[in-house]
């Protein structure tokens, strides 16, 4: 029972590993960026699920309601920031891929490496 | 005199170097600046002689980069002597260089004189070093400033030899000397030179022998085998540089450093009673004999002189470890005696090259009749190496042998006698052939004497080699102060 209760951590671990594996094994640069995004999503999920408090509700104060148990808002805020960082990284990565395509005509990592070695 | 003027001794050649750089385009001005700097430096250095002779030990701390490690200068008998020799012989060497460089129409003369001045500044720094850290700093600067001098010719063979020079010297200093200094500092908390040594009580047993080894082999400039390879390699340099390396700055700095470390870091008494340190005299003896034997087989004059130097340097080391007052004084005197003798020999070699373009021994047959002054000087220098009166070499050998007899160190006595015989075996034939043999077939004998400047330098140093035999009391008195505290 204990193991299933850690379901969110399993998701986190599996997604992390999928992301890392794809990052290393895929040659296509766009796929690498996708893998990076998956990798980062794993961490986001980890933080957010960690912020859930037993019997807690969304952390919004309602007028007139006292003694409410709230889920922790802080990790959610942190992850918002981290998502923004992730988006910037993805955008920048894709921009570099576009430039690479302009210069080399391909987005396959091994082909680019080969062309560099020739020059 | 005010101790805070001690750094002037270093500053002067540095300023001279800058002035030489600025005057580079006018050779006569440049040479004049070199000479003036040398003369002023010698005057400045000698002005401290009376004070140090009376027993004063001026000291000046320049800065303290690290806690416990300071950049400090002080004068004591050994350093005083070294500084006097170096500064005085720089004057002679500069006169010689002018003759040699112009006689051979060498390129890059400005670079040559600048590096010379820098090297002398570094040598002064070594002479005046108050502690191991300062010594190490200027030791490295000496290596770096003499590299361009060794690599002067600039061709592939010279560069390769210069690489050996740099590699051995930097490798030993960073790889062995630096750890030794750090070890000393960690164990004793200080690196300052103190009469009686600082190591006693902090390091004992086999560690002492090990530390001594790190120092002796780390100071590659003393050319104790097997870290001697840089010396023959450095013979690719022009002869004024070889004269500088072999008499004035580099090798003397090496052997001076070892002597200073033995007396002021280990302490003569302490080392005498430490069994693990006894290996040094065997290493020194091995170097003396082996170098002399190798010298026998050399055909190139300068290389033969190089191996002769390696042997003579280890005389000093062996004399230091005989550890009797007379031998200690002899060691110090030999630094001076060998300086005068060897510089004469190298000057002669350079004179022969400049006038006759000869470098190999077999070419020297009969040359005495064409170049009498040069060969006369060579003869005097060679006799000094062998140790024949009335030359300087005799004085120092007398003291060293005397100390060896006092210590009943028959091994040392035997080594000295054997090496004297070997020295005679490779020097006397040259003298005989130069004066008495007919010229070798196919060798061009159509040349005269060397340029005047060279002859002047030769005359001065060879005369001094003889004068030293008669007039050496001030130096003896100075160096005796080192051993006053020792039991006779």
């Amino acid at each position: 029972m204990k193991l299933l209760g850690l379901f969110n951590y399993w998701v986190f671990a599996v997604l992390l590993m999928i992301g890392l594996y794809a990052l290393i094994s895929k040659q296509n640069l766009v796929k690498k960026i996708m893998a990076l995004a998956i990798f980062q999503s794993a961490v986001f999920l980890f933080f957010i699920t960690m912020s859930r408090v037993d019997e807690g509700t969304a952390p919004i104060i309602q007028a007139g309601v006292a003694n409410q148990i709230f889920s922790n808002p802080l990790p959610q805020v942190l992850i918002l920031t981290a998502i923004v960082v992730g988006i910037s990284t993805t955008a920048l990565g894709l921009a570099i891929v576009v430039r690479l395509h302009e210069e080399y005509g391909t987005v396959e990592d091994n082909e680019i490496l080969a062309m560099d070695r020739e020059s | 005199m005010n101790p805070s003027t001690l750094p002037l001794i270093l500053l002067l050649p540095l300023v001279g170097a800058i002035a030489i750089a600025l005057a580079g385009r006018w050779p006569n001005v440049r040479e004049t600046i070199s000479l003036l700097t040398a003369v002023t430096l010698a005057v400045l250095v000698f002005s401290w002689f009376p004070e140090v002779s009376e027993g004063l030990r001026p000291r000046f701390v320049l800065s303290e980069p690290l806690p416990g490690l300071s950049l400090a200068f002080s004068l004591e008998p050994l350093g005083m002597m070294f500084a006097c020799i170096a500064s005085f012989l720089w004057i002679i060497n500069t006169i010689y260089s002018i003759g040699y460089m112009r006689g051979n129409n060498e390129k890059n003369q400005t670079r040559f004189y600048i590096c010379f001045a820098l090297a002398i500044a570094a040598a002064m720094g070594i002479a005046l070093a108050d502690n191991l850290f300062t010594l190490f700093l200027f030791y490295e600067l000496l290596t770096l400033s003499t590299y361009p001098l060794v690599a002067h010719k600039g061709d592939a063979k010279t560069i390769a030899s210069a690489r050996v020079y740099l590699g051995v010297l930097l490798g030993t200093s960073i790889g062995l000397l630096l750890p030794a200094i750090i070890w000393t500092w960690v164990a004793t908390g200080t690196t300052t030179f103190t009469l009686g040594g600082i190591v006693e009580g902090h390091i004992a047993g086999a560690a002492v022998g090990l530390l001594l080894g790190l120092f002796v082999f780390g100071i590659g400039k003393a050319a104790v085998m097997p870290v001697h390879r840089w010396l023959p390699a450095a013979m690719v340099a022009p002869t004024p540089v070889s004269a500088l390396l072999h008499a004035v700055a580099v090798v003397k700095a090496g052997v001076f450093s070892i002597t200073k470390i033995i007396i002021y870091i280990f302490g003569v008494d302490f080392l005498f009673n430490e069994p693990s340190a006894q290996w040094l005299q065997f290493a020194a003896a091995f170097t003396i004999i082996t170098a002399s034997i190798i010298a026998l087989y050399q055909t190139n004059l300068k290389r033969m002189l190089a191996y002769s130097t390696i042997g003579q340097l280890s005389y000093v080391i062996m004399a230091t470890v005989i550890l009797k007052p007379m031998a200690e004084v002899g060691a110090a005197i030999h630094i001076a005696a060998h300086a005068f003798g060897k510089i004469t020999l190298f000057f002669a070699a350079g004179a022969i090259y400049t006038a006759a373009h000869k470098t190999e021994l077999w070419q020297l047959a009969g040359i005495g009749r064409r170049m009498p002054i040069t060969m006369a000087a060579f003869t005097i220098g060679a006799l000094s190496m062998i140790g024949v009166p009335p030359t300087a070499g005799f004085v120092s050998k007398w003291f060293i042998l005397g100390g060896a007899f006092q210590a009943e160190n028959y091994f040392a006595i035997f080594t000295i006698i054997a090496s004297t015989v070997l020295n005679a075996m490779y020097f006397l034939p040259i003298i005989y052939f130069a004066w008495l043999a007919p010229p070798a077939p196919g060798v061009d004998m159509n040349h005269g004497e060397a340029p005047k400047a060279i002859l002047l330098a030769l005359a001065v140093t060879s005369t001094l080699t003889i004068v030293f035999f008669f007039f050496n009391q001030p130096l003896l008195d100075l160096e005796s102060q080192l051993v006053e505290s020792l039991p006779l």
Binding site: P75, V85, S88, L92, G93 | L66, L137, G154, R163
Partner: protein, 497 residues
């Protein structure tokens, strides 16, 4: 409303707010000027903060008046001040020396955006140095990293693009690992503030998540810091970046990652986590050692001066990691000193390379043969900085090497082999540096032309000031020593010998 009270915040705000202003400028030269002024201002602020730290100390700065641990705090101690000086100094050096080089490397229309990115990178790096909580460190780290990627890719060399892509991937993995670690710590202690973390960590009973967190954080930061064997992004990124950018990032970007590593491992974990220091030491020291020896050896075989210096940087980072891993007072002093001194030496070296490339057009050895005779002043400065890199006495590098060797000798048992390794790597450094110096002075230039062609006087003056600074701090190291001392006291909090 004393401006001096807001120095920590200003340190980040000045470059950050100047960046959009610079981007709006039309002219490449004006953009450069704006960036230089902002960088100089930041350097001035860093100096002010240093003076304050060495004097009465800088009080904790609560952002917006919200008190920590709930509010965000900015803390400036000796170590932070050291990093700030390093970062702002490197930025100013790169900008001041790089005008001509950047004019050539960067397209004039894109120049304002380039300089804007430079200032953002500067702001990010300063932010890391002053941030008092773990998450802000992450945010600033990513800000500076993203801006750095832009800087590296901005030049004309297309090989920089694949180098930057690799750097982006690896850097993001590193930052994400760091984030995971921070998440675990937050889970167990409920706080992100460093000082608060250190307090609460002592009360945590189940320490396994903390150890895992420590692992993730260390690996993540090791990726950013290019500790061997996670250094693979560094050589190509340094080599193909525009030369002025290399001056900037070589001097500071990896050191900032090590700074965070020190903060976490010593400011937070050490003393509060059982067995941490042993784990950390046993983990870091073999890696550091391999990096020191292998990177130095690889550097000997390089044919491009920038790549050679890049591998040399990996080795030097190994020294810093080695010192940091010793977990002693002396070790931390050595680590901080070496950060300072290496930045000084590498900054000067890369500035000299910038000058070489400016006049000859390429950084490969075959092109630079004989450069010592054509550009004697620059080459002489290169030799001085090289001597500092090797650790010849009289230079700044000697001071930190001395501290490192003394710190290592204090280790029982493996002190002597470590010393031998350090000495061996110094000798390797002599080999790879001398290989270039010999080529520069005695080699034949490719076109046979040996006429003088030095860089303009302002650049030469800058190079020589940097080179002389190497000597100055080698003889008068009181300033970095004081800062390192103050930093070590804060980090160890009186817990360790």
């Amino acid at each position: 409303m004393n401006l001096a009270d807001h120095l920590p915040a200003l340190q980040v705000i000045v470059p950050l707010m100047t960046a959009p202003l610079v981007i709006l400028l039309r002219n490449g030269f004006l953009a450069w000027l704006g960036a230089l002024l902002a960088s100089l201002a930041s350097f001035g602020l860093a100096i002010l903060l240093t003076v304050a730290v060495l004097g009465a100390g800088v009080p904790e700065y609560a952002m917006g008046g919200w008190q920590p641990p709930f509010g965000i705090s900015l803390n400036v101690d000796g170590l932070s001040a050291l990093m700030l000086l390093l970062v702002t100094g490197a930025s100013t050096l790169g900008l001041a020396g790089g005008r001509l080089s950047l004019r050539r490397d960067i397209d004039n229309r894109r120049a304002p955006m380039f300089y804007g990115a430079w200032l953002i990178a500067l702001a990010g790096l300063c932010g890391i140095a002053v941030a008092g909580d773990a998450f802000n460190v992450f945010v600033f780290m990513e800000i500076s990293s993203l801006a750095t990627y832009i800087l590296i890719a901005a030049g004309r060399d297309r090989r920089a693009l694949s180098a930057v892509f690799k750097y982006l991937i690896i850097g993001t993995i590193g930052a994400t690992f760091y984030l995971i670690g921070v998440g675990f710590i937050y889970m167990m202690t409920g706080t992100l503030n460093f000082a608060d973390m250190a307090l609460r960590l002592a009360d945590v009973i189940e320490t396994r998540p903390i150890i895992i967190a420590a692992g993730f954080i260390t690996i993540g930061l090791a990726l950013k810091a290019a500790v061997f064997p996670l250094h693979i992004w560094l050589p190509r990124a340094y080599t193909y970046a525009p030369n002025a950018v290399t001056v900037f990032i070589a001097a500071c970007s990896t050191k900032v990652a090590i700074y965070v590593l020190l903060r976490f491992n010593y400011g937070v974990f050490h003393g509060n986590l059982l067995a941490h220091s042993d784990l950390f030491t046993v983990f870091i020291i073999p890696l550091a050692l391999s990096g020191i020896l292998l990177a130095s050896a690889i550097a000997i075989y390089q044919g491009n001066i920038k790549k050679m210096l890049a591998f040399s940087s990996v080795a030097q980072i190994g020294y810093i990691a080695l010192a940091a891993g010793l977990a002693t007072h002396a070790g931390l002093m050595a680590a901080q000193l070496h950060m300072f001194n290496h930045a000084l030496a590498k900054g000067t070296l890369f500035l000299c390379v910038l000058a070489f490339v400016l006049t000859t057009g390429s950084a490969s050895f075959s092109n630079l043969a004989g450069i010592g005779r054509r550009m004697p002043w620059t080459m002489a400065a290169f030799v001085i900085a090289g001597l500092s890199l090797v650790g010849v006495p009289g230079t700044a590098g000697f001071v930190s090497k001395w501290y490192l060797i003394v710190a290592v000798m204090g280790m029982p048992g493996w002190g002597v082999p470590l010393v031998m390794a350090i000495i061996l790597s110094s000798l390797l450094a002599v080999v790879y540096l001398w290989r270039f110096v010999e080529l520069a002075y005695y080699g034949q230039p490719p076109d046979g032309d040996v006429s003088r062609m030095e860089v303009p006087l302002p650049l030469r003056t800058l190079i020589w000031s940097a080179a002389l600074a190497n000597i100055y701090f080698g003889l008068v190291p009181q300033l970095p020593l004081a800062l390192a001392e103050s930093g070590t006291t804060t980090l160890l909090g009186g817990l360790l010998p």
